[in-house]
């Protein structure tokens, strides 16, 4: 076979298949560790407040993003696991592009008494409902199977 010969058999050129190991481990850090350990034990969230800027961080931070001052441990407090829907979208395909049997609603939920928000699944049967501004609350996994990750929140349901 020379360079100008036409290939008639599409299986004759070989393919070299392989996969690359690219696993990673990402520790949550000091503030994140405290936050996730709190979720593991309680049905509420933690937030931290900068006394100077009066900003309430959620998820909690160790340092204020605006004035760079340190937030001490006593400025951390418990907040309820409920909030207001800021944004939402109806998802009809999964991460691999396959069609989902049942569409899911994913929302950006502003947690009550804080300036922060969280992405979460909103459990609802009516898909064409306008959820903006609706009050929702988090439903957690049973305490014995919690792992200290965001997956411990099963979904958010309407109040």
């Amino acid at each position: 076979m020379t360079f100008f010969d036409k290939q008639t058999d599409p299986t004759s050129p070989m393919h070299w298949r392989g996969d690359m190991q690219a696993d990673y481990l990402y520790p949550s850090g000091v503030a994140g560790d405290k936050f996730f350990k709190h979720i593991k034990e309680n049905d509420s969230f933690l937030a931290s407040k900068c006394l100077k800027c009066k900003k309430v961080f959620f998820p909690p931070r160790m340092y204020c993003e605006d004035c760079f001052c340190e937030i001490s441990d006593k400025d951390w407090f418990e907040v309820p696991a409920s909030g207001t829907v800021e944004l939402f979208t109806v998802v009809k395909i999964d991460t691999y592009g396959e069609k989902l049997e049942k569409p899911r609603v994913v929302g950006f939920i502003n947690i009550d008494t804080t300036d922060g928000a969280l992405l979460g699944i909103i459990e609802t049967d009516i898909l064409d409902e306008n959820l903006l501004g609706k009050k929702v609350e988090a439903v957690f996994k049973p305490k014995n199977i919690r792992e200290g990750t965001l997956k411990d929140i099963l979904f958010f349901k309407k109040k």
Partner: protein, 180 residues
């Protein structure tokens, strides 16, 4: 201490921070996210490399000739990068060669430190043009015995284990006098 144009600036030798060890992870003292993404690839080899690997399965090394440059190219290529012309013919080559360059590696493919070094290098295959060959492992020799210009011979896997890969050759061993 670091000296700039006008002044000397100090910096701490020990950076403060929260240190975690492997034990903290295995004992789950700290929370973390672990994920293994699926990173798969399929590399299309083209006519030249396909034939090269198929011939390795048959315990043969094959090259391509370029008549204009009077060159024997291995691993084969369908196009001569010297004269920009398609190469002309297939040619079978010997499974012997000469060490062109080598490296003594105390790291394994996962970058872990090892005691017995891996010997790896480039082999100029006999019958091909000078400096034409490929990279492979060396075996049946120690790090003190290896030298540039050493005659080597391929050690093949048994027929059942050969699957059309460069690792169908286990390694290259020293070629003793009288051996072909």
């Amino acid at each position: 201490m670091m000296t700039t144009k006008n002044k000397t600036v100090g910096y701490p030798k020990y950076a403060p921070g929260t240190h975690i060890s492997r034990k903290d992870i295995t004992n789950k003292n700290v929370t973390y996210t672990w994920w293994e993404p699926e990173v798969q690839y399929s590399w299309s080899l083209g006519p030249a490399y396909s034939r090269f690997l198929q011939e390795l399965k048959r315990k043969k090394i094959i090259g391509r000739t370029c008549k204009r440059c009077e060159r024997v190219i291995v691993p084969p290529r369908m196009f001569c990068e010297y004269c920009y012309k398609p190469t002309d013919d297939w040619i079978y080559l010997k499974d012997t060669g000469k060490i062109e360059t080598f490296s003594i590696s105390y790291l394994d493919p996962n970058a872990r430190r090892i005691k017995d070094p891996i010997l790896i290098g480039v082999i100029s295959i006999d019958g091909a043009s000078p400096m034409h060959g490929f990279m492979h492992y060396f075996g049946e020799m120690t790090k003190d015995e290896i030298y540039i210009g050493m005659k080597v011979k391929a050690v093949w896997k048994p027929e059942k284990e050969r699957k059309g890969s460069i690792t169908d050759i286990k390694y290259f061993k020293p070629l003793k006098g009288g051996e072909k």
